[in-house]
């Protein structure tokens, strides 16, 4: 399988990429772990591919008490980042480590993955539970979009035409916090049948689910049995079974997050 023909441009700067992406039917290419399979299947047929791969948008920076993760930081780099081991941020590495496989984590990026917004993707749940913010850059400047406002539905986000995700901001949880991401995955695809991210702080818990609906779902009352949450069923996991899995992963993620918050687990 090979993609339909397209023209290719390797972006030299964010501005250059934005300029190129003004062309109709253009598409930004980051790691390509979601886009290229779709193009090979000819589900995606962009006329013009703008490769962001050489932009210097990878790595972690700390500013104003928060980490900013460059949009091109790979899942592999995130899974190994020592900076994200403490202070309630553990869910990020948990999640990154379980995405795809080593080869996919070597190429796939947090910015590309979040912007792709696959309804069964792992990181959107973490992004919502931990309150991550996406930095969207355009010709008009920069704006910040809370993860809870970013995911609008399957493969649909709040990014406007002419905007690129350049970084993901990670607010620092208060001392005494812990977080975790736990999923039950389809054994062949590795995608979550149900995945839960939990952040436990001295003030309370925040939980979000993925794999159960068109996007990440915040769980207002994780102890309440998830009866009021809409869950879809498919041939891999019917609605009832998937709701059961959702309860299981919520419980496990909360337990692990609590254990980390209390210093009983790493």
């Amino acid at each position: 399988m090979i993609p339909a023909p397209f023209r290719y441009h390797r972006a030299t700067s964010v501005e250059d990429a934005l300029e190129a992406l003004r062309e109709p039917d253009s598409k930004a290419l980051a790691g390509g772990m979601s886009l290229l399979p779709l193009m090979k299947l000819r589900i995606g047929r962009p006329e013009f591919v703008v490769d962001l791969g050489r932009l210097e948008l990878a790595g972690l920076e700390r500013a104003n008490g928060a980490y900013a993760i460059g949009a091109l930081t790979t899942w592999d780099a995130l899974s190994r980042a020592q900076e994200l081991r403490g202070e309630g941020l553990q869910a990020i590495a948990d999640c990154a480590r379980g995405i795809g496989d080593l080869q996919v984590r070597n190429r796939g990026t947090i910015g590309g993955g979040l912007a792709h917004a696959d309804p069964a993707a792992d990181m959107p749940a973490v992004a919502v539970a931990l309150g991550l913010e996406l930095v969207a850059y355009s010709a008009e400047g920069e704006r910040t979009i809370a993860a809870s406002d970013f995911f609008l539905g399957p493969f649909t986000t709040a990014l406007a035409a002419g905007e690129l995700v350049t970084a993901v901001r990670v607010p620092t949880p208060p001392p005494g916090s812990g977080s975790a991401y736990v999923k039950v995955e389809h054994p062949a695809s590795g995608f979550a049948l149900a995945g839960a991210a939990a952040l436990v702080t001295p003030a309370g818990a925040r939980v979000a689910l993925t794999g159960i609906a068109g996007g990440p779902v915040p769980v207002a009352d994780p102890e309440a049995g998830l009866e009021d949450i809409e869950v879809y069923g498919d041939r891999f996991a019917g609605e009832e079974y998937r709701r059961h899995l959702a309860r299981v992963v919520v419980r496990r993620a909360l337990e692990r997050a609590r254990a980390r918050a209390e210093g009983r687990a790493s």
Binding site: R10, R97, R107
Partner: protein, 155 residues
């Protein structure tokens, strides 16, 4: 429209013409005659097309050749001189890490990425690293044993 690109393949600078849509695996196989990268599932699941780009295992069926322009690419052909075996290859032979051999180049190149960062991996780390490489005949137990033996041989 074809574009001319340069890659450093197995230590040698190579120039070839590709279309924007040419995948790295086809550039290597059809452009350079390096058929050790296999096309298995063609959907970035099986890992038979795994090569190293700048030392990191990637699925060359899911990478445009243009994305790799200028990069160092290592294929199974580049691990040892003709007629000789790299210690990881030798370990796979000695520990029955292959039968048909179709998945083997990918298994070995992923193993090299793993060992470059974790020279002494335990069984769980090996299985986690090889998750994206499917074997349909040998079974994973002797492959895991081969990787352990390779780690010891290289230590």
């Amino acid at each position: 429209m074809p574009e001319r690109i340069q890659l450093v393949v197995n230590g040698e600078p190579r120039t070839l013409e590709v279309e924007p849509r040419t995948l790295l695996v086809h550039a290597l196989r059809d452009g350079l005659g390096l058929t050790g990268a296999h096309v298995g599932c063609d959907t970035s699941q099986c890992g038979a097309c795994t090569v190293l780009v700048e030392g990191r295992a990637v699925k060359s069926c899911t990478l445009l050749a243009l994305q790799a322009e200028g990069a160092e690419v290592t294929t199974i052909e580049g691990l040892a001189p003709a007629g000789e075996l790299h210690p990881v290859q030798q370990a796979f032979v000695e520990h029955h890490g292959l039968q048909c051999g179709f998945c083997t180049p990918g298994m070995i190149l992923t193993t090299l990425d793993l060992l470059s960062r974790d020279p002494d991996p335990d069984e769980a780390a090996i299985r986690h690293a090889l998750r994206g490489n499917l074997c349909r005949c040998t079974g994973y137990q002797p492959i895991v044993e081969s990787v352990r033996a390779a780690a010891e041989a290289l230590s």
